[in-house]
Symmetry: C2
Subunit: 111 residues, 2 copies
């Protein structure tokens, strides 16, 4: 899962949001790192719907314009948490380093 997709799901953690609100929320959560292009957002929403990670809940008409709300499915929430754990583990590989000696260790058996 790529970063833009991750932050789209993360934006939906608390409550259902419509597309535009997802964009701004993803920007907040990522501290400006991710600025979703509309092409990315709406394509991703369709894709994630097809994958069963999000569902459209309802529509509001505001100023003659539809707002389509999306929420996380249990599958989507699980995928998000799983991805977060993988990212944390990946980060640890770099951040948790014994600052002492990079004595090259001869490939301890990992599995």
């Amino acid at each position: 899962m790529r970063e833009p997709t991750y932050f789209i799901l993360a934006a939906l953690q608390d409550e259902p949001l419509h597309g535009y609100a997802i964009m701004t929320r993803a920007g907040e959560l990522s501290r400006g790192r991710v600025r979703l292009a509309t092409g990315t957002l709406y394509a991703a929403l369709d894709r994630l719907t097809g994958e069963g990670y999000v569902v459209s809940t309802h529509e509001e008409i505001v100023n003659g314009r539809a707002r389509r709300y999306y929420r996380l499915t249990p599958d989507g929430a699980a995928a998000l948490r799983s991805e977060a754990e993988a990212m944390a583990a990946a980060a640890r590989v770099v951040t948790d380093r014994t600052a002492f000696s990079p004595a090259p260790r001869p490939a301890a058996g990992l599995a």
Copy 2:
């Protein structure tokens, strides 16, 4: 930066490695999550060299076949650390759920 690229750089943290060793090391570090295709590896190595993140140090001839070793540049090491921090921060958005900004939090939990 995508995950395969990240683990290529991470594989080079301790010592210079040649391509094939990078593949296996990246697999170890990611606990099997990333299995680099050769197409990914050698293309990425060229790209990262062009970006100044890695450099080729030397070549060994083993069994009539060249082994090309790569190491991280200071720029590459900095980019790797920066990426690790961004990933850790992104993971925290999901794993630590103390809502920090303008979103209401469902009272479900934490205790």
